[in-house]
Every structure is written in structure tokens, then in C-alpha cells.
Symmetry: D2
Subunit: 266 residues, 4 copies
Amino acid sequence: MESMSLSEPFWKTAISKVEPNKILIHGYNLMDLIGKYSYADLTYLLWRGELPSEGQSRMMDALLTVCLEHSLNAPSVDATIFVASSGVPLQTAVSAGVAAIGDWHGGAIEQAAKMLQDGVAEMKDGKLSEQEIAEKILMERKERKERIAGYGHPTHTHDPRTRKLLEIATETHIAGAHSKLAEKVEALTEKVFRRHLILNVDGAIAAIISDMGFDWRIGKGFFIVSRTPGLIAHAYEQMYESRPYKAASWKEIVYTGKAERSPPTV
Amino acid sequence: MESMSLSEPFWKTAISKVEPNKILIHGYNLMDLIGKYSYADLTYLLWRGELPSEGQSRMMDALLTVCLEHSLNAPSVDATIFVASSGVPLQTAVSAGVAAIGDWHGGAIEQAAKMLQDGVAEMKDGKLSEQEIAEKILMERKERKERIAGYGHPTHTHDPRTRKLLEIATETHIAGAHSKLAEKVEALTEKVFRRHLILNVDGAIAAIISDMGFDWRIGKGFFIVSRTPGLIAHAYEQMYESRPYKAASWKEIVYTGKAERSPPTV
Amino acid sequence: MESMSLSEPFWKTAISKVEPNKILIHGYNLMDLIGKYSYADLTYLLWRGELPSEGQSRMMDALLTVCLEHSLNAPSVDATIFVASSGVPLQTAVSAGVAAIGDWHGGAIEQAAKMLQDGVAEMKDGKLSEQEIAEKILMERKERKERIAGYGHPTHTHDPRTRKLLEIATETHIAGAHSKLAEKVEALTEKVFRRHLILNVDGAIAAIISDMGFDWRIGKGFFIVSRTPGLIAHAYEQMYESRPYKAASWKEIVYTGKAERSPPTV
Amino acid sequence: MESMSLSEPFWKTAISKVEPNKILIHGYNLMDLIGKYSYADLTYLLWRGELPSEGQSRMMDALLTVCLEHSLNAPSVDATIFVASSGVPLQTAVSAGVAAIGDWHGGAIEQAAKMLQDGVAEMKDGKLSEQEIAEKILMERKERKERIAGYGHPTHTHDPRTRKLLEIATETHIAGAHSKLAEKVEALTEKVFRRHLILNVDGAIAAIISDMGFDWRIGKGFFIVSRTPGLIAHAYEQMYESRPYKAASWKEIVYTGKAERSPPTV
């Protein structure tokens, strides 16, 4: 626990400025942007401080739509519908879904982006080739018995979203060293782990946002924005088109704990 | 508390279908949409079941960008930065901000949309004119001493976002009976309340989504999606560019409770 | 949206006062209380401003333990485990469970307490007897086709928690007009609805906290405090004794939406 | 992302068993416990699987009351009041406060408990003395320029809660190797860091729960349970005794970002 410095103002931000009848985002008047720039463009502006080029704009839209929806086959959506079933406002249910975008669910974007950014930085030092970096990444995780963030998927045997993103990254000339390294790592998984681990959508997003120059620590932001409209759709469906109070039935819950017993007589 | 019907499947949805290597949203393969349709288009698809027309697409983008950011001058952003300061992952802080999109903060969209949809439905019955409906809306709330959802603003004396949205609604031929009624209500506020209450951004969104045929109960969804990139930007700024552990200083907290006293001796 | 009055201090509370090396709660030094008063006692102090009597203390402990745990047969617990499975800190998962303590899950405490407090207030006016108030409560809800908050249960045919709480309320001489009215309403359910609706644990808590003089709007607080240790236990079990990434399997999700189709060719 | 094993049941728990009219917690019927055991006792049961001894019971109550309340001088409470001000149900505001119990706010309990448990384990190996372990702990963190979890406080110059807890731990004969090591570390802070860092309440809780045999990973659970009644009190005060829509005023927000500019003309 550490206190705020007393010399700095309590309320401070570099993102935007509000005064009566005017809202500036990174210096631009929001009114000059609405209707001309897309949601993806303005998300880019918010996170980077500048408006995107045409290619970056197209790439942002793809990055923010690729994880829109994955049915109930996702912890965030399942958390959302249980909360939505309990009699709460829409935003409360969505909030619980956002909270579930954790290290094993969307969070691989950050870990994979860090891994790729570290790898490319090491390549630039010039001592190791792409092949050597990719092998090193895999061997280190094999030794530590860690999973490789951004690779493998429980449902998809190849992740169609990965190919789609990499196609657009190539068309927009955004694909660069990080995307190449990501594909090299995939190619070597079989050699190191004796089974092919696909580059999944988290890994593809990680590679592309790294090629775009994003800090890896904003990685989960892409998943959050992308999944939010889906969480809203599921919350709405649960609240207004389903029965309330959704819970596991006591008949289906397997109890593996202590047998019935009496408390000590005092 | 009421149980689920045993005859219906526990996991059920009409929104999307996932199977290995395929994701369908309302029947469309997500891979056929990415790169062709914008984030705003696909949000429309998720919530309405169909792809938008060109005008609807443009309107959606405006609706989803208009509340992107309002600096620290919003409960959702303030909640986000306190949570972000406590040492949590990005999504946890964003989740708290989403939870704060309550009835007094974005929630007016739903209440205003319901008010306008009820009003227009009553007009269609043909017994009351637009003027009469608008007066009735205002008089009822005056009698009940209720605020009028979607009107008035604590910071802006006219809300620039309102004019921008209504302009685009006119250009795209979306503006209809609900937008007209919303403006009529604004025009009469001075007569009924003796002070002009501006149609604020919540009220403008409410009017336009009503003209687009949205259920009023999805209203908060527009605010949630619009504000999320801003919440992420503020969470990131607090986590990585500010000092941790942000809290009100004990020196500035005014205590208005009971004076110091001793517990009873037992 | 309404702004704070500029004349009142931004940070203000009547609950407690912190200064270096001293924490006062409603005037008492926390250091004088720890070790002498129980958690239930101090919760009473926090919410009421005074320390409880011996009977109130015993009743508080019963009220705060009665909803401790209900296995996975509750939306709050299910929401907790999905969030916990996604790779987040303990408190994030617990937070999602707390968010699910909505109107259909614990929330009946507030609605039932309001119903009983209104009923007893009406009795005190002297125009209607307890029997008449109870009938009126049931008839009004029957006409509006509303459920009766605090009555009926999806799993239990009689709620053992109800009897236990009412026993202790009698022993501690706390049971009064609200508890009596709650039982009268239960006794009449069969006459009005043609089936017996049991007074459930929410209804029993509602009656007793009303007899203790609590505002009905703090009702959910009892459920939140009571359930939190259970949410923590389930979050821990999911995080450290189960497999990560819990989600509904795509094979078990029934899709009821639109058939596969192609987007329009533009 | 990793899927659940298909062979294990989807809904499974060792904590409790619910069937109609019966709730077992770790084998005990909840109805046999209510009224006999305190909230602190049953929290112990939930987390450890057994009922506490008399000393453990007293210690639990102290551990769960010591962090009840810290006025608005805490990120969790501040987050709670902003969310509460936005027009949401009570539990939504409390949920946001729980989410803010992060690594810098209560979270030090877990880190400190791990540090002490590792230290005591190393002492038991017999190679290093308590003094040497304490020095090693401090030197390692000094070299890594890390703070020492559980030491120092932004408001209190000595944390009165620490002494109170250690007193009760001594009286109940719970204080053991972890508490001794915690105090030894405090005693050496001045030597290593040239300023005295007090053992704060997080550190004291960490030491005592370690002496009680708790896994360090349940550490935040103590803070969550302890703070929840306070969060509820603050949410209630904000919702029902304060003005709605609490937000930083635009006049007090210091903007440090880009100067006003125009978007590129296309």
C-alpha cells in the first residue's frame, strides 16, 4: 500500500478533456469525428493517441469483430447468463462476463504478445535467427511444463479466425516480424511437442497487434471490446426470452465431500 | 425463485452456433463477414438478427461512437480507475466500470426509449396529437415529481452529441416519429417546467434506436459498447502510467457521524 | 443525470472516521471492539449505528449464517465458478457471485420485507386486521399475476432454514408483528392460490429483520454477507482443485436460431 | 484454453450437498449448526472442512472483524460509492468494491503469507536461522526493488490492528513460527532499508493465518469477508442518504494530453 503523491492532482488524465458543450479526445473534437470515423477507428485513437491509416482501420475492424461471439461455449458467456438469470439490470450481467475475460479466456493475447515482442526484440539484437528464437520459446515452455499462450484450442482443430486475420494483415501490409515468428512457432510445435498446436485466434491477434505497435498490456482490451456485443445479446436473451433463476439442479451435482456427520456435543 | 422447466435443454441459444472450425451468427458464417462488415454492422446483426442497410450501418456507427469518452467526469470511469489502482487485471477494472452504467448514467436511454415508444404507440391509436402526447409526458412527470429521462445535463448547456446524432438520423432517413416526439418534448419543457431542459445524448440515442425499431430494453447496450474502449483506456492509464492505490485521503474526508465514545463495560 | 451540490464536501460519510493510528466506527474505536464483539455484532453496529443486545447478537449470527452455502444449486455460485475458471484472482470470481444476488436470488428479502413492513404499518392504522392484510397481500398479487416474494422454493418442499430462524426469533423475543404476518400469509396461500406456498428463507429473513427494525432496503446485505464465505470456498475449489476453462461444451448447446445462410453479394 | 476432461462430471463439489429440505456443509447439517456456531466458526468450517476449537473460533472472529471498515480511505470503498451513485441495485455496488480487493489493497495478505510460509519451511530444513531468513527476505526484495508485502502503511505510522491481532494470537496460543518471523522481519527493516517499515494489518493477518495452517491462496478471502459489511454500509449511505450521480467535476480534472487540433481533411 502506497499513497498518492500529494503534489500531483488527484483527478488527472491525458486521454480526453470535457468542458461544457465540448469533448476532446486526444485533442480532436468528438463532434468532428462522429459520422466520419468508424467505431474501430475511434477505438484506435483512444488507445494510441492518433487516428489510423486506411489499412490500420481495416485491420482494427477485423480484430474487433473476430471474437464477437462464441455461443455458450465460453466462460464469459456462461457467467453472463447465470448472473442475468438472477434478476439484475443488463449491465450487471455484462459486467460479470467482462470479469471472466481472464488469463485462460482471452488473456492469452497478452501473454502471447509479450512472448512475440520479446522474441522479435531478441532477433533484432541479431544474435539469434527466427528459427532459433521460435525453438527457444518452445523449449523453455516445454522445460517449465507451461502451455504456449496463443496455441491450441479445445473446440477447433484449426481456428478459422486465425487464417482470416492473417489474410487481412497481409492485404493491409501490416503482417511483419511478429506474425512471421508466430507462424514459425506453430510450424515447430510438432517437432518439440510431438503434436501440432494450432495458432489460435488469441495468438493471431497477439501477433498482429504487435506488428501494429501496440503494447502487449492492452491485449485483453481487444477481446473485451470484441466480446461485449455478444455478452449483451446473451444477457438480453436470458433476461427476456428465457426462464429466470438458472442454476445447476441439485440432482445433477456430484458431491465428493465428507459423509454426513453430527457436530460434537459440547 | 423458480426452477427451470425440466423439459427444456439447459444450454440453449438462438444467437449463434459453434462447432469445430465453424462459428455461425444468426445463420451467417463469421468468416464470411469479417473484413466486409464493420464492428457496428455486426453488433446490429447480433442484436437484430439481420445485417443493416447502408443507412442503418452509418447510424449504428454514430450511435456506438457518441458516448466513447467523457473523461473522469462520469461514475463509470471513476469506478474504473479506483479498481484499476488496487492491483487487478485490466478486465476487472473495466468490469466495474460497466457495472456503473446504471439508471442515472446511461440508463436514461432505456427509460426515454420506453417513454417515446409508449408515446408513439398512443399517437398511432389516433386519439392524441404529438403536441398532446408531449404535454402529457411532461405533466405526468411534473405531478409525480420525477425527472424526465433523457433531458437535462449536469455539464453541458446544450449537448453537442444530440445535434450530431439527429443530423445523421436525418441524412440516413432514419429520423421518424420518435425523434420528432423527442424534440417536441424538449420544446415544451420550458412551458411546463419554467426552464429549458435540453434533449441530452441519452434522449437522442433513445429516440433514434426507437425509430430503428429496437426494443427499449436493449438501450443500455448502446452505452455499454460505446463506453467500453474509453474504460479500457482509463484502466490502462491508471495501471501503467499512474501511481497505484488511489483512495480519498483521510485528511479530506468529512466525518459527519457519532462522536467518539466507549463501548459499554460488560 | 444530476450533479452533486457544490456546497457539500465531495468525500463525506457518517459511518466511520480514519486518522493515523485510529479507526472509529459510529464513534467506537475499532480496537476496543475486536476480540470482544463478534463479526455479527459489528455488522449490526455498521448497519444500525449501535451495538446489539444479547438477543439481537444471537439473532444476527443466525441471520448471517443461514444462507452461507447452497452448493452449485444457485446462480451466484455458478457464476462464481465460471469466472474463477477463466484465470482471474479470487476476488474477481467472488465479485461476480455477489453481482448475481439479484431480485430472483436473495433479492426477495427486500421485496418481502417491504411487503411486510407496509402491511404492519397498515395494521397499525387500525382499519384492517392481520387476516385482512394477509388476504389483501395475496389477492393483489394474484390479480397482478405476480409471485409473492419470500414464498415458494424450487428445491425445498419446506425450507428447514425458515423454522430454525423463527425458533431463534421466538427464543430471543424478537419475533413480532412482521413474523406473525409472514406466517399468516403462508397459512392463506392455499386458500388463495390453491396450493401451499412455503415461507422460504428469504421470507423468514425479511420478517425477522423487519421485527428488528431494519430498513427493508438493506435486505440484500444479509444475503450478501451470508453467502460470501461460500462464494470464496467455491472460487478456491474451482481455481486450485479443478480444471481451468469451464464452459458449456459445443456438443450440448442446443441452437434454436436461423439456419445457415450466405450474406448478400454486394 | 483447455477443455474439461469429459470423464469427470460437469457439476461437482466437495464443499456441500443440497437435497430437498437438507443442506450439508462438509458433512454437517446446516440446521445443527445455526444458533450454536458463530459466523466466524462456520466460515472456518467452509474453508477448512472442520469446526474450529475455542481458540481458533476467537481468532477467526478477530481476523474477520479487523478490516471491517476504513472509511472512504480505501479504493474498494471509493469504487463502491461511484457505482452506487449511478442507479444500480445494492449488490452491484458491493460487487465492484469486492473486485477492488486487489494486489495493492488486501492482496498483500496472500503475498505476505506465501513469503512467511516459504520462510518457515526453509527454517525447518534447518540450514538457516530465523534471523538469516528474515535478512534474506529483506535483502532479496531490496535487490529486486520490490516492496515487502505486509509492511508499511500510507496512513498509519503504527497499525493498531496489528498489535490487537498479535495479542489475541498470543492469548489463544496460535502465535507461532510465522508470527515470530513476521516480527523479526519488521525489526530488521530499519537495518536493511534505513527506515522502519511497520508490520501492517495485512502482514499480521498473513502471519496468523499461516500459524493456523491456512493455504496462503485463501488469504484475500479474509479481507473480502471482513470488508463486505462496510461496503454494504457505504453503498447504502450513497444510495439512500446522498445525491445521485457522483463524478469528478470537469472543473477539477487536470488534462495533460494533446492540445486541440483538427482531424485531417480527406
